[in-house]
Amino acid sequence: MSITSKVLAGLNLLALFAYIYLASALFNYRTDWQYQNFLMERMLNGLPLNEEEVDSFGQPIAAQLGPKEGGMLKTLLGPGGGNPAGPTLLDEVRAVKAELEPKLGEAGNPLDFEKFLTPLSNSFAERASLIRLGKPVAGDTTESPADRVKAVIAAAVEGKQKNKGLSPEEQREAIGRFLWAAQGLKEGAGSPSQVNRLVALVGPRVAINTITQSIRNVEEMTRQVNTVRALEQGNFLREHDSLVQDIRSLDMQLQRKVDEFNAVRQKVMEQETSRMVLEANRDDLAKQLGEKRATAVRLMTDLSLQGKSLYENRIKVLEAIKNMQQTESTIRQLEGIKPVSQPSPSIGQ
């Protein structure tokens, strides 16, 4: 082998190593860019629904996310995002479900039901049914809270809603609603860290849709509560006014009766006064009558005595007249005059 051949071969070899170095450097850059792309894609789309979901290269996404203890999952959730339950949304959903089941079972605390279902309630009737702890209210056709929780979990875990299969995208949205509802049971519901975790898990689009819908629901319920408050206030005022009118009427009725009672009582008192005057008058008249009768009796007695005295005096007069006649007769005899016969006097003359 000539020297030239050897130099050329050496240069060739050197070029080979240079190419290999450059190719590997390029590969590393490319891999790094690819990782960044993958990470960014996950940031935009969230975790895969399940182990089978593949990326645009046909590679299973979950496998690329690495172990849950570190790596890309931790990076995705960010600081304060908590620990991931696994590389898929279903891992997260199952973990949350396991955590919630003791609280939202048949014998769950009504307050927990309310906290869980508040972001999902989209009508005042449903909200009212939650607040009233599942007791039925007039016109309320919503499910019981426990059934509602079961439906939400079924949609998220099994991808079924009312016995109808959901598309992966619909299931992702169902998972978003479930996870957002579940955060209501934790401290600081709706806090930025919880929002960030949801965004990391389901992606910003689904998270924004979910939370926006929740905000709309809550605002709508607030509006409905305000409407109901106004109605209740109106009803109360009507009832209150009606009762006040009733009471005023009763009060006036009572007052009229009291006035009537007083008027009649006054009349009785006047009558009593009149009666007392009449009684005094009667007693006075009776007394006068008694006195008059006494006077009459006295006068009668007096008259009787006078009559008797008159009679006696008349007797005496008659006797005197008789004596006088006898004496006159005696005188005539003595004087020799024939006595003249005279009628004998009587008392009645």
Binding site: M1, N12, L16, Q194, T212, F236, L254, T295, M300, S309
Partner: protein, 252 residues
């Protein structure tokens, strides 16, 4: 060709093939993972599209306001429900007080509508004085509006009282009528007034009669006196005649 030459040729050929494959592979997939914009019709780097999407989301500002928007909305709902609950309690308490009244010491109050809802009227708290007339529920005090349930009993009582006083009126009327009958001529009976008048007439007649009787008595007494005097005179004459004539024969 020496063995070394052969090896080097083989190595070079292998490297060339490897590079060719890598180049082919890169060309076939032709993914540009960078954030560079494509030039002359070439597609943009995929990272650029992703970055632009993220930036669009960030610029939308939705993520930043999500938490505040939700907590604010939830806070407002909770506040509204708390207010509603308090209002319901207030309404129930007021209606209960109007209907039944807790105690008579807390008379019925009135509510007014304010910008914050409905509340007690401070000008009428704690009582509504409706009249200063007699308060039969609490004698000696100003009357106040009572709960609805506090009215039937006094109403019934005052009705009974009215019935009683009406009976008293009737009884008094009867007594007055009886007294009037007793005094005046009513009911076909002579009253005391008439009887007094009759008695007075009787006394007057008796007085007249007595006066006449006394007159007669005086006249009789005068007659008696005169007669007795005449008798005495005649007796004296008889005595004189007896002395002067003695016993005389009776003329025929």
């Amino acid at each position: 060709m020496t063995a070394l030459g052969k090896f080097l040729v083989f190595l070079t050929a292998t490297g060339a093939i490897l590079l060719a494959v890598m180049s082919y592979s890169s060309w076939v997939t032709s993914y540009d993972f960078t954030d560079r914009a494509g030039k002359e019709g070439a597609p943009d780097g995929t990272f650029l599209g992703l970055k632009q999407k993220i930036e669009a989301i960030q610029k939308g500002g939705q993520l930043g306001s999500m938490s505040k928007g939700y907590t604010d909305a939830l806070g407002e709902l909770t506040l509204m429900e708390k207010n509603r609950s308090e209002a319901d309690l207030f309404y129930a308490a007021q209606i209960l007080q109007l209907e039944k009244g807790a105690t008579r010491a807390v008379p019925v109050t009135e509510v007014i509508r304010t910008k914050n809802g409905v509340e007690l009227n401070p000008n009428l708290t704690p009582k509504m004085t409706v009249a200063k007339s007699e308060n039969i529920l609490e004698p000696g005090k100003d009357r106040t509006m009572e709960a609805k349930a506090n009215y039937p009993a006094p109403l019934k009582k005052v009705e009974v009282d009215i019935g009683e006083v009406h009976k008293a009126v009737i009884a008094e009327t009867k007594k007055i009528v009886a007294l009037s009958n007793e005094i005046s001529n009513q009911g076909g009976q002579k009253g005391l007034v008439t009887r007094n008048a009759e008695e007075l007439d009787k006394i007057a007649l008796l007085n007249v009669e007595l006066t006449a009787m006394r007159g007669n008595l005086i006249n009789i007494a005068a007659d008696l006196f005169m007669n007795q005097k005449r008798v005495k005179q005649l007796n004296d004459r008889v005595g004189e005649l007896g002395k002067t004539s003695g016993p005389r024969s009776e003329k025929p």
